[in-house]
Symmetry: C2
Subunit: 295 residues, 2 copies
């Protein structure tokens, strides 16, 4: 039986996912508030999702929980129109309690739910090489298998109910956000001591102070290239979710709190749409130093 798969949210990540699904021979139906993105998908062999019934799977690749709920259960929500036993693959970074709520609501329509936040960026999305940090019932994993095979090279199975995937994604974002701000703090601190960003990258990537984020983002600062692969504005959102969860269990997360403040400053300074390495511009401003390629 031919699989009909919907992709809701055709931004950088969602569009790449839709392309990967098309490459794997599926019928792909796309939706985005921006009609131009739907037209772009149609030009590549996809179709518009409007009024399509009986989808077997939908990937939800929107910004946050609110948009996810709107797409699933709002006006023209997709879940009530889906085939019985179909699966929602929910990719946005959300609070685990929200994921559990959606799983339960989907079950009322006999629709499965996979809590499936993604990691890897737009380039990997288009290559079908994402990592998916997933949790859900065995049935949800089985129903989602065609989608997961098409979009990901690594699928972490975190548990048999929604929530665990989102929890691990939050843990990852806590670390990635703190490491990004720490890289900016260390790089600019080094500049005050006469260490160039280039020398910083050369040496630190070979030392105990290195991190995945440092190795990925510090070269952007060396090149003065702030083309947004992943933008500053991701972090107030994602670290905000971390602190919401932390608050719900009275967990004190002081480093996350401080890192979030730095991203707020960057966003307020008008850097929200720049690459997230631009967090270094906040430190440079505070310290009165000039980063490469920044006037």
């Amino acid at each position: 039986m031919e699989q009909k798969i919907g992709v809701y949210g055709l931004g950088a990540m969602g569009f790449g996912i839709a392309q990967s699904l098309l490459k794997n021979g599926y019928k792909v139906f796309g939706y985005d508030v921006n009609v131009k993105q739907v037209e772009r998908l149609c030009a590549e062999g996809g179709k518009a999702a409007a009024n399509v019934l009986e989808l077997n799977a939908v990937c939800i690749v929107v910004l946050n929980a609110q948009q996810t709920e709107q797409v699933l259960f709002g006006q023209n929500g997709v879940v009530p129109t889906m085939a019985s036993g179909a699966v929602v693959v929910s990719c946005a970074t959300v609070d685990p309690s929200f994921a559990k709520k959606m799983e339960k609501k989907c079950a009322e329509y006999n629709v499965l739910y996979l809590d499936a936040p993604i990691s890897g960026g737009a380039v990997k999305a288009a290559r079908g090489a994402l990592s998916v940090i997933a949790s859900g019932t065995d049935d949800a994993f089985i129903a989602a298998a065609p989608v997961l095979d098409a979009i990901a090279t690594t699928v972490f199975k975190l548990g048999d109910t929604a929530g665990a995937g989102s929890a691990m994604k939050a843990v990852n974002q806590l670390l990635a956000g703190v490491h990004l701000a720490a890289m900016a703090e260390a790089l600019t601190f080094g500049m005050t001591q006469g260490i160039s960003p280039e020398k910083f990258v050369d040496v630190i990537t070979q030392c105990a102070g290195t991190s995945w984020m440092l190795e990925d983002r510090a070269p952007h600062i060396v090149l003065g290239d702030y083309t947004p692969h992943s933008s500053v504005d991701i972090w107030p959102k994602d670290l905000g979710i971390v602190l919401e969860i932390a608050k719900s269990v009275n967990f004190s997360a002081p480093l996350t709190t401080v890192a979030l403040q730095q991203f707020f400053k960057a966003s307020s300074a008008g850097l929200g749409r720049e690459d997230d390495a631009a967090i270094a511009k906040i430190y440079a401003l505070d310290a009165g130093i000039t980063l490469p390629g920044v006037s």
Copy 2:
């Protein structure tokens, strides 16, 4: 001409360095406030440094700047007794301005000075596999070459004057200390969401949230093994140096400041001599959760 090399400070790192020098065939003269360590060195073929004149090189592997200055220029200080053209290889983590001061004072005795903080831990020290983050004159590097060849597999040359090596070491310690505390924050945060430390390590080490420190230290928490490879008390000292330097140039380092507070808490709680992964115990205490193997 036979090289006579002194090693001042025979703790875990210094003793390993002395062993590496012995393996390379040098005459090694050791000093430590703890006489037992000197006796241990003698049992392995070394000698006591007391009253030995005309050393060609000395490695200073003590705790801090104060001890370094004491050994070099205090009562029975070694520098005035060294051969002309001999070299001091100074390995403690210190403020760059202190390193510059020592270089200048050594020059008064016609003794060279290599600003040479080390990284890698006791096991690598004994295997001659350290990393050295060094700066100094060409003459200092040439004079120190036999020592560096014996103790290190990687030597970073940061510049032609003392200070640059210590500055880069401070940058590295800033990152390593923040990453260590961030690992503890994320691991315990995950536990509040039902993620076991083991699952945390399995997944995060393959994701964007990973760091060198996380990969090295988080397994200690999984095993509940706090045998001190590198102890908690290193961090109040090293992050304190970072903030001293930062203060001298009015640099705001908010993540470093918060990480330091967490290490102060750990030290105050009596964890100073435990492995530095014990920083997680502070987070666990705050959150009311129980780490593996901790009662």
